[in-house]
C-alpha cells in the first residue's frame, strides 16, 4: 500500500522530491515521439522496458546511445522496448545530437521536464529497467565502463 501511494503521488506529480527507485511502479508517461505522435506508455505491451533520460549536453550519453541501440537490436524479439526520453528545452539541440549519435530505438520528447520530474531524475543519463508489471527493477545513474554489463545481466534476469 505504501509503495502504491508513493507511485500514485509520483504519477500525479506531487512530491517531486521523491526519486523513483527499485520496487516503485513506473510513473504514467504520455510523450510525443519524433513525429509528434503522443505515445502512452501505459498502453505499451512489453516484457521489459528500458527507459533512459538523456540530454544533448550529456557527455556520457554519447556512449550510452550505441549501447542502447545494440541492446534494442539484440533483445527486440525477446520483448524489450528501449525508450529514450529527451529533456532538452530546445528540440533543435536534441536533433543535432541525434544527427551525430543515431538512435536505434524510440526517442520521446519531454522538453518541459515533467516526466523527468516525476521520476525524480538527478543526472543524465538516468535509466530504469521496468518489468511487464510496470514495476521498476533496476535504476542506474550515469554511464560508466561497467554499466553495460550490469544492465545486461539485470535484463537477462528479468527476461528469464
Amino acid at each position: 500500500m505504501k509503495r502504491f501511494s508513493i507511485s500514485l503521488l509520483a504519477a500525479l506529480g506531487i512530491g517531486s522530491a521523491h526519486a523513483v527507485t527499485t520496487g516503485d511502479a513506473m510513473p504514467h508517461m504520455a510523450l510525443p515521439d519524433a513525429k509528434g505522435k503522443v505515445q502512452d506508455l501505459g498502453a505499451l505491451h512489453a516484457k521489459a522496458i528500458y527507459v533512459d533520460f538523456w540530454a544533448s549536453w550529456c557527455t556520457p550519453c554519447r556512449k550510452s546511445f550505441p549501447f542502447m541501440s545494440d541492446l534494442q537490436r539484440r533483445y527486440a524479439d525477446r520483448g524489450l522496448v528501449v525508450l529514450a526520453i529527451n529533456v532538452d528545452a530546445e528540440r533543435k539541440d536534441a536533433d543535432d545530437f541525434l544527427a551525430h549519435y543515431p538512435a536505434g530505438f524510440t526517442v520521446l520528447f519531454d522538453g518541459k521536464g515533467g516526466t523527468a520530474s516525476q521520476f525524480g531524475v538527478k543526472g543524465m543519463p538516468s535509466s530504469y529497467l521496468i518489468g511487464a508489471d510496470g514495476v521498476v527493477r533496476n535504476v542506474h545513474m550515469g554511464f560508466r565502463e561497467e554499466t553495460p554489463a550490469a544492465i545486461e545481466a539485470e535484463l537477462e534476469t528479468l527476461l528469464k
Binding site: 540530454a55 549536453w57 550529456c58 528545452a89 521536464g113 523527468a116 525524480g120 531524475v121 538527478k122 543526472g123
Partner: protein, 181 residues
Amino acid sequence: MPCKTIYRSLAAAALFSAVLPTLASAVIYNGSVDAGRVTFASNCASCHGTPPNNLILPIVMNGANNPTLISNTIRSNPSMEFLQGSLSQTDINNIAVYLAKPTTTDSDRIFDWGQATYPTLLTPAATSGSASGYYYRYYSGTNFYVGTKAGSLYLLDGSTGALSNLGAVSTWLNSAINAGF
C-alpha cells in the same frame, strides 16, 4: 587640474579603500562564483546540465550555498564517487556559491557591495558593461566608474580622468563575501 578635482579623486579612492565592518546578519557565500562556474562546467555539467536555465534537474540546486550537501553527496552517491579526491573543499565551496548565484560574477558581487557600502559615491545603482578590457559600472550621479581588469579593481573619475588601482579583485571579493554579497 584644479586642486578641488584632484582632491575629489583622491578622496574617493581613499574612501573606497577604507576597511569597513561586516554585516553581522549576512548569509555568507564563501567562495568565488567565477571559479565555481568553471569547476562546475568541467566536472558537473556533463550529467547535471548548466544552471540556471536547466530547470529539469532542480535537485542540483539543493547544493546552492550548501557545500556540505555537495560533499556528502559525492561521498555517498556511487554515481558521483568518481569526483572523490578530484575536487578540493575550495572547489566545492565555489560550486556551492555558483549554484546560489549562477547569473552573477565576482566583479558584480564587488560592485553590488560597493553600491551598498558607498551609496553617495556609487550612485545611482548601475548595470555592468564591458569596454577596453574592463568590466565596469558607470555612476552617472557622481561621474565615477568602477571596473575590473586582469585581476585588479579600478576607480576612474570621469570628471578628472584620474584612474586609481584599488588592488586585487580577490581582496575586494573577500570584503564583499564577508558582507554577504
